[in-house]
């Protein structure tokens, strides 16, 4: 088996990410985003299952008949491709459910599902996620995005204490 290469220096990876953001502002004029695609996928599923109801709904209804024809959906596809390329180059591709030794796969899956649910809801409420609000808005020093970042860390640190078992490897030591 090939040796896995180390991760890139995080400061340089961050610099690359920052330059990507600048590129997005210069060409698109609208920064980065990832959560919006989840919303669009939700709208597409909703349209498929309950077309009349979705068209009449206030939030998804405004996105029209083809919610997936939107630039953030293409950006999300790009994120997957870019991640795949990088992992292939570093030989880091691996099918697994990542968890600490102190927690069962089932519990970890439930945490991931509920965490995802809350994040999906919250990013529609806040109109963005770590990339769309914190990074994109933060780089322009928008008050609302900075507020989002502060409350995100608050929520994160509080919740992390309750789910600390997730990444606890004490059993293996």
């Amino acid at each position: 088996m090939m040796k896995r290469s180390l991760y890139m220096n995080p400061y340089l990876a961050g610099t690359l990410l920052g330059l990507t953001l600048v590129l997005a502002y210069l060409i698109l004029g609208a920064g980065l985003g990832a959560s919006s695609c989840m919303g669009r996928l939700g709208a597409a599923c909703s349209l498929l299952l309950a077309p009349t109801h979705t068209r009449a709904s206030e939030y998804f209804g405004a996105w029209g008949e083809h919610p997936l024809l939107y630039y953030t959906v293409f950006m999300f596809a790009g994120i997957c491709i870019g991640g795949l390329i990088s992992a292939l180059m570093a030989n880091r591709l691996e099918l697994k459910l990542e968890r600490g030794a102190a927690i069962s796969s089932g519990r970890r899956a439930i945490f991931a599902l509920f965490g995802g649910f809350i994040v999906g809801f919250a990013s529609r409420l806040a109109n963005g996620c770590t990339s769309g609000q914190a990074l994109t808005g933060g780089a322009l020093l928008l008050s609302g995005s900075l507020l989002f970042m502060v409350s995100l860390f608050m929520g994160g640190f509080i919740m992390a204490w309750f789910v600390r078992k997730q990444w606890n490897d004490a059993n293996t030591l």
């Binding site: 690359l16 991640g83 880091r92 990542e98 995802g116 770590t130 933060g138 990444w167």
Partner: protein, 378 residues
Amino acid sequence: MMQTLYSQGLLESSTSFLVSLGIGILFGFALERGGLGSARRVTGLFYFRDMVVLKVMFSALIVGMLCINYAKSLGWLNPDSLYYLPSIYPAQFLGGLLFGVGFAMGGWCPGTAAVGMATGRLDALIFLFGSILGSVTFNEVYPWIAPLTQNSQGTQFAYEAMHLSEATLVFLFTLLAIALFWGSERIEAHYQKTLFTRSRFLKRFSILLFCAAAGLLIFPQKKSVVHAIGYEISLEQQLAQELQKNTDHIDPEQVADLILSAQPMQLIDLRSPAEYRAFHIRTAINVQPVDLRDYLYSTPRDTLIVLYSNGMTHPAQLRDSLFRQGFSNVKILTDGLEGFKANCLKPLSLRTTPTPPEKAHRIERCRLFFLSNLGDTP
């Protein structure tokens, strides 16, 4: 001065889709390279074990901030050509709090989960499935929580609220980031015995960021002023040209035709709400002059906007102001609302000049459409 796809109203074009795909690839590549394709590493921050998220995030934030500010000062980036997320504090505060909770619980945020999913992490796939369900739920309960998401104040900037210049706050933010980087290295040193000694790199990186931020403070904003003046002159010239060619006006008949054929257009009534209630051109929206900028905030800059009032002075002044803000297709209604009434709505019986049958037919259609359910007749 570069025109962004957003300012040209091309965000939903195939060019934009292709560009977004490319930008996404760079984005995903940077995330995976940095080590954010692992939930354990991503959440390490919350337990002060692995600070990689903080390092990547704040490096990106500062580099982005500095580059954007230099690009603005050098005149490469027109601030008016960007989309600014509106400030909606209750939604952003509550959303952020909930987001943090889900983030710590699920171990991912949407961007990192995309990378995780693409590299085989099953928990990322489950997380993303959950977030689709969360979005659908949001849509279902939206009618009840909509008041939280209403925007009344447009976009607000932290440096304006703090009465600082943008460069000063960027500088302070850079100092904060450098402190966080050094703090993170300290914290990690506790947990990871085999830490690469990055001190030399970090020293150089910190000095580089510091100098760039300080440079922005000293960097004379004059250069941007020179550009701005050049930009203004060409803008004034364009204004004068439009005036001369009469393309700043639109005839009442043309407006009526556009409305009758349901063409996309923003028709704005600038009169008082009382006058608007008494009578207005059907499909027009009542916006007070002071609210106009806010109202048009997220409108693509090339949308056809038609302004009217009773006369023509106020609409003309506002038209020029919107034009300077980058709206390229703003017109005023020739002879205002009175002109519209006289040209399109005046009954045939009251007209002194003979009316050709085609025109008579059009007037009938207009009267039928514009006078229904609106009470007042002109």
